[in-house]
């Protein structure tokens, strides 16, 4: 099937070439980091996790978001999602591979990565995260490939594959839950030490993942003649709205707990993220514009969707803009704010701001570009198969 990725029009190749440029830059930046040291990043002793881990966290969410297609289709037999379920599975594959790349970019001794398997340590949440991520990746590879192959041959997928489909549902929840547990079980990290971290991660994942899928569907409608169907898109935007609202609700709860309890440790990170934190005569606020952009984009997207649904407006461009707004909002919230905010105040109550370096951003963009290229190729295969079958 993979040969389908090797045939495409010039736009397809231009797009892949464009991405390759970023991948090449990222690879060079990574080699520099590999040979010179992690000191090339903006991370430091006080703020020792940065852009890589935050992208990892966000992308685990994107991978888990595919659940919002798989679940209705396979459990509730919601036929409308029939054409796009495979997109959810393939997006999960690409996102998980990006996650693994970000982890490799983040660790100081990448060649020793296998120590996690050679010395399995069940008390470490990172060990479990690896287990569920690799598990979910394998499940999606199996399900996606087997189901697509069956579709190509125009036969029913073998029964056994459904077992893997059903197992993949709790796995999708588990990858993001365990990823949240990396953060929410650490004493002395007040912003993360919140039982609502995991539900909040899930809520934002269930908005961000589908939002990305809708954007891809709309793009493919224009460039690849692939129509997901109005009803499917409509249903997805409803799901995105609810999930984004629940995420916003959870964030508000964090504010309530912080301000009503008035416990400084519970307020610091939120103060730093949204208003600027005053400490020792200096105001630390480098993330404030990003967080407010996130708030406005999130509510902007929600209002747009709400208005379109009430006024029964149907416009691909508006739907795409709404999804993009919500996706960026959630990326700012989780892909930047959550990790950096939680680390700004260190355990000794010293404040450090984080500024990623050019080299670090280069690697990050390279991995994102690689992910987009992977999605492009996987989606191309999936669509070509579907179109071939329908053409018969």
């Amino acid at each position: 099937m993979i040969e389908k990725a090797l045939k495409g029009n010039s736009a397809y190749w231009m797009w892949l070439a464009f991405l390759s440029a970023f991948i090449a830059v990222g690879a060079i930046c990574y080699l520099r980091q590999f040979f010179i040291g992690m000191g090339l990043t903006g991370m430091g002793r006080d703020l020792s996790w940065g852009l890589y881990i935050s992208q990892f966290t966000f992308l685990v969410g994107v991978a888990a978001g595919g659940l919002m297609l798989v679940l209705p289709y396979y459990i509730h037999n919601y036929k409308v999602f029939g054409r796009i379920t495979i997109l959810g599975e393939f997006l999960a594959i690409a996102a998980l591979i990006m996650c693994l790349m970000f982890i490799m970019a983040d660790i100081g001794q990448p060649l020793r990565g296998l120590n996690m398997i050679l010395h399995p340590t069940p008390n470490s949440m990172l060990f479990w995260d690896m287990v569920v991520l690799l598990g979910y990746l394998s499940l999606n590879l199996i399900c996606g490939w087997v189901i697509l192959t069956a579709e190509k041959k125009q036969v029913k997928p073998p029964k056994w594959v459904y077992i893997f489909v059903y197992i993949s549902i709790p796995f999708a929840v588990s990858i993001h839950t365990v990823t949240a547990m990396l953060y929410c079980g650490l004493p002395g990290r007040h912003f993360w030490l919140s039982a609502i971290t995991a539900p909040r991660f899930l809520a934002s994942a269930f908005a961000a993942g589908p939002a990305l899928i809708v954007i891809f569907c709309l793009i493919m409608k224009r460039v690849a003649n692939f129509d997901a169907g109005k009803e499917a898109i409509n249903k997805l935007t409803t799901i995105i709205m609810y999930a984004a609202l629940i995420n916003a609700f959870f964030v508000c709860l964090e504010f309530f707990v912080g301000w009503y309890s008035n416990i400084p440790g519970h307020k610091h990170a939120l103060e730093y993220l949204f208003f600027g934190l005053e400490h020792g005569g200096h105001v630390y606020n480098n993330l404030v514009p990003f967080m407010w952009t996130s708030v406005f984009l999130c509510f902007g997207g929600l209002l747009l969707f709400g208005y379109m649904k009430i006024a029964k407006i149907d416009n691909d461009l508006l739907v795409g803009l709404g999804c993009l707004a919500i996706f960026i909002a959630l990326w700012l919230d989780k892909g930047l704010g959550f990790v950096f905010g939680g680390l700004a105040v260190n355990p000794l109550n010293e404040v450090t701001e984080y500024y990623p370096t050019a080299n670090e951003i280069g690697i990050t963009l390279g991995i994102w570009a690689f992910g987009f290229a992977l999605v492009t190729i996987l989606y191309k295969v999936a669509i070509k198969v579907e179109q071939e079958v329908e053409g018969h």
């Binding site: 000191g39 020793r112 990172l126």
Partner: protein, 278 residues
Amino acid sequence: MDNQRRKFLKMAGATALAGISAPAVVKLTASPALASSAPAGHGAATQDSHAQPAAHGEEAPKGVRLGLLIDMRKLYGKPELMDKAIAACNKVHNIPHYDDRKNEIKWIWKTPFENAFVDQSVYHSSKETKENDFLVLCNHCDEPPCVRVCPTKATFRDEKNGIVAMDYHRCIGCRFCMMGCPYGARSFNWFDPRDNIKEYNPKFPTRMRGVVEKCNFCGERLAEGLEPACLEAIKETGAIVFGDINDPNSEISQVLAKEHTIQRNSSLGTKPSVFYIV
């Protein structure tokens, strides 16, 4: 060592011997001053604490648990003494020097009270508290979160003596332990540390780029019968006391029994083994 044997040693009143690989314990706990206290009483006391584990709502101590006590009263107004202790640690452990906070590596350092003891009030604190820095280092927690989170067991608690140690050859540099440690006790080698070691000590291994490091309670020195370098550097002041806090006859236990001490962030349940008299 298996529990049976440990128990036997305890009963025999020879707890100190349990730290076989750490003769310093023997030395510290069997110093002449302490040897005068009746050995029988020692055995009895250990047995007692076995018999009534719930007496103070604390668990019965098991085996050797090395601890360190800093009597800040002896260091107030004398930052140069603290610098001396810090320099001693840096020297024996080949700790690289970086000028910037970002890449800094430190095992023991000075910091104001409000940063060292974040859960203590500094409202109307005394002049001494306000004006002095405090020595901080890894607490060799009895319930160490850094060990709990490490995915490779590269950081682990040595059951023989309670030291939270590191295996630099196994560490993958994920820095999860730095997230877990609520004391900021750990440093990461962002660059090759070997380029920045001022005075190389061939007796202690240098680290490689990409791994985490921290105070090791001078495990390598204890094995040679020496005391921790920071203690030794300012020994004349008696400001630092080191020994087995599970042995009621050790010097540190006796100071602990007499003086009111505090620990850093004790509310987090990490059970630090470093104590302060302030």
